[in-house]
């Protein structure tokens, strides 16, 4: 480490993330306020009901599990490292992570194949959908690449990526540990920022409106126009 990382690393790991998050917050909030009608998962199950299952179900279960793993590594790195101190547990975590990542990839490929093969589905596919697909493929493939060729990520993530991410959060980015990373890891990180920055312009916003309150609200909904708050 000579203390002065390459300017490209500086740009990609210290400037780009702030641009991405700034866009993310600005546009999602503004879109929610001004164009709440446009917040939709834009489901196309109605137009094609069979392939939909094989694409959407593995993709969603896979990506949710993988994302949960990343968030845990970010929030509780010590506990993850402690868990991994027993090799068997480390193998278990790595293999299950890989399985979920492959599940995501399979689902993603099925979803893309469905969009290409069904003329009705092609009709409702926009440019932003294709950008999302490209970004997601890069993200998942680079993630699987890292898992295969730079193994034990669940441990080194906690030791390198987590401090970097926290430094970003503290508005004092320290990118030395990231600058030394292999290319696949760098691609994975930069592409994640691209995904976050482009997120508010796509159908991905449906993630933000996942209907948790449904699980505890009363089944029937009545709205009164005369009684405020009733």
């Amino acid at each position: 480490m000579n203390g002065s990382p390459h300017y490209l690393d500086e740009l990609l790991f210290a400037v780009f993330p702030y641009m991405a998050f700034f866009t993310f917050f600005l546009v999602t909030i503004q879109r929610y306020r001004m164009q709440s009608f446009s917040y939709s998962s834009l489901s196309s199950q109605f137009l094609e009901n069979q392939q939909h299952f094989w694409g959407l179900v593995p993709f969603h279960y896979g990506i949710l599990a993988v994302l949960t793993g990343h968030i845990l590594g970010f929030l509780i790195p010590r506990e993850v490292l402690l868990f991994n101190s027993v090799p068997l547990r480390l193998y278990f975590l790595e293999v299950s992570g890989l399985i979920f990542a492959l599940l995501t990839l399979v689902g993603l490929c099925a979803a893309i194949a469905r969009r290409l093969s069904e003329s009705k589905i092609r009709r409702v596919t926009t440019t932003s959908d294709w950008v999302v697909f490209v970004l997601l493929v890069i993200q998942v493939v680079s993630g699987i690449w890292v898992a295969l060729f730079h193994p034990w990520g669940s441990s080194w993530f906690a030791a390198t990526a987590t401090p970097y991410l926290w430094s970003l959060l503290k508005l004092n980015p320290e990118i030395q540990s990231i600058a030394a990373m292999p290319l696949a890891v760098k691609v994975h990180i930069v592409n994640a920022y691209a995904l976050i920055g482009f997120f508010p312009f796509t159908r991905l916003v449906h993630i933000l409106v996942v209907p948790n309150p449904y699980l505890w609200r009363k089944p029937q909904v009545v709205r009164w126009y005369r009684r405020a708050g009733a």
């Binding site: 709440s36 196309s44 969603h60 209907p211 699980l215 709205r223 126009y225």
Partner: protein
């Protein structure tokens, strides 16, 4: 007691001529937009037939409506427990193939085709993909029993009919069918509302109209599967569900909904019913054979001083109570008991009621002299060409009693009027029949008048909406600045 008012409906099937004017009126106003071409918020089906979407009554296929499980009501499709696993792919969601792929015709070809030996034709073009398509089926493909081998014979309501009865329905020269116009039932216990994870669907407290908040719908699609009547539709273009709004902008300005207004046969009635909202769940849980009565029991008497007092206390406007007292729906449903809810076994407590249709008697009985003994006066009710069991499957959760009662009373009214106007039946016989049918001369006159001589104002008793009291109007006027109509800044688009 928690008294609420509901704008309710009666469709008199004996008067429906199957002209589809209602469907066209609705389509022209509400569903001529992109993504809604395939939707028919109002449609008219031929019964027996498979309807729209195909076999919508087959809940083994669609899993619509409610079921009781260990004494609790729960959705058959995706309630709270199942939605977590089914949100990515709803296993009961119908697809466009269950409805039909909307199409137009390449009319330009008629003008632009190069000169040739054949007449040019306008080939069908899909309104989804814009490509030429080979039309397989469409809405009302089974109109007037068209293709009955494919459609009518697969009507789910034929369950429980004997082979003889089935054969009788389609026997040559004895063919029989009737029309079944359908809109959203604006149910008391709507499955669509209970299924919506976003809380976008809601029932209006003041008049019970079930609406879908377009800005809160996120296309989780649960409503489409949950509604057993398949009257919530998914707009494939905007990614939002849509449904019949009972023309609330018309109702709020004192006009009847478009399908009611345009009804040629004057089969449609609209009026307020007061009901006890605290007893909805209790009523919906009753076993199928008690459901018709259970729903009637929570519809309250608008003349009862206790009900009036409770209604006032609950904020029901004086003018709404008055229109509840004049409601034609109350007469049909609660006083005369000749209007019945469709498929009450689905548990949603629909607030659209049907007067079951009379049908010609069996041809084998033709030429028989009328036997005036009391046992046989109503014989042709049970020997009508449409088997009682079929009507019972539609309007009585499979139980014939309530349907038979409604048909007997209708028949008695006919004989009474025949005695009055034609005079070939002694009045004593007519009165005897009325007694047998649990009716009176006064009631028969009233039924006759509201059925045959009804004016616009008799059929549609629309309560004032009192929008001047709505809190909406007290909100910031900035809220809808630069917007027109119903509050959108821009036309409905797909995504951003």
């Amino acid at each position: 007691m928690n008294v609420r008012s509901q704008i309710s409906m009666v469709f008199h099937l004996d008067k429906c001529i199957g002209c589809h004017t209602c469907s066209i009126a609705c389509k022209n106003i509400w569903t001529d937009r992109k993504g809604t071409e395939y939707m028919w918020w109002n449609n008219v089906e031929t019964k027996p037939g498979t309807g729209y979407p195909t076999q919508w009554e087959n809940q083994d296929k669609y899993s619509g409506g409610w079921e009781t499980h260990n004494g609790d009501l729960r959705l058959k499709s995706t309630g709270k427990g199942k939605i977590v696993f089914n949100i990515f792919h709803n296993p009961h969601q119908p697809s466009m193939d269950d409805y039909y792929e909307p199409w137009t015709y390449d009319y330009q070809e008629l003008f632009n085709a190069p000169e040739g030996p054949d007449q040019p034709t306008a080939r069908p073009v899909s309104m989804v993909t814009g490509e030429l398509i080979n039309i397989q089926s469409g809405p009302n493909w089974d109109d007037d029993l068209g293709g009955s081998k494919v459609y009518a014979e697969n009507d789910p309501n034929l369950a429980g009919l004997s082979d003889e009865q089935r054969a009788q329905l389609s026997a040559v020269e004895r063919l029989v069918f009737f029309y079944f116009p359908r809109i959203c039932n604006h149910c008391l216990n709507p499955a669509c509302v209970a299924a919506c994870p976003s809380g976008a669907l809601y029932k209006r407290g003041e008049d019970g109209i079930v609406l879908l908040d377009q800005k809160r719908c996120r296309a989780w699609r649960s409503c489409v599967a949950a509604c057993p009547y398949k009257k919530v539709f998914y707009n494939w273009f905007t990614g939002k569900s849509e449904k019949c709004i009972l023309c609330f902008p018309r109702i709020e300005t004192g006009q009847a909904p478009a399908c009611f207004h345009s009804c040629v046969g004057r089969i449609r009635y609209l009026g307020v019913l007061l009901y006890d909202a605290d007893r909805i769940e209790e009523a919906a849980k009753r076993p199928p054979e008690e459901l018709v009565e259970a729903q009637r029991s929570i519809i309250l008497d608008p003349f009862d001083p206790v009900v009036i007092a409770e209604a006032r206390a609950n904020g029901v406007h004086e003018s709404v109570i008055e229109s509840a007292q004049k409601s034609p729906v109350y007469q049909f449903v609660k006083i005369w008991k000749i209007a019945l809810p469709p498929h009450i076994e689905y548990g949603t407590l629909p607030m659209l009621f049907y007067v079951p249709p009379m049908s010609p008697v069996m041809a084998t009985k033709e030429g028989n002299t009328i036997d005036h003994t009391s046992e046989d006066l109503f014989h042709d009710i049970d020997e009508s060409r449409v088997p009682m069991k079929f009507l019972a499957n539609l309007f009585g959760a499979g139980h014939e009693g309530k349907v038979r009662y409604a048909l007997r009373k209708q028949k008695a009214v006919r004989w009474y009027r025949r005695a009055v106007t034609v005079g070939d039946v002694p009045m004593s016989t007519a009165e005897h029949m009325l007694r047998e049918a649990d009716s009176t001369v006064e009631e028969a006159e009233a039924i006759y008048r509201l059925t045959s001589l009804c004016t616009f104002d008799d059929r549609f008793v629309i309560p004032p909406s009192h929008r001047e009291e709505a809190i909406q109007m007290l909100e910031s006027p900035e809220e809808h600045r630069q917007s027109a109509g119903f509050g959108f800044l821009s036309g409905p688009r797909r995504g951003i």
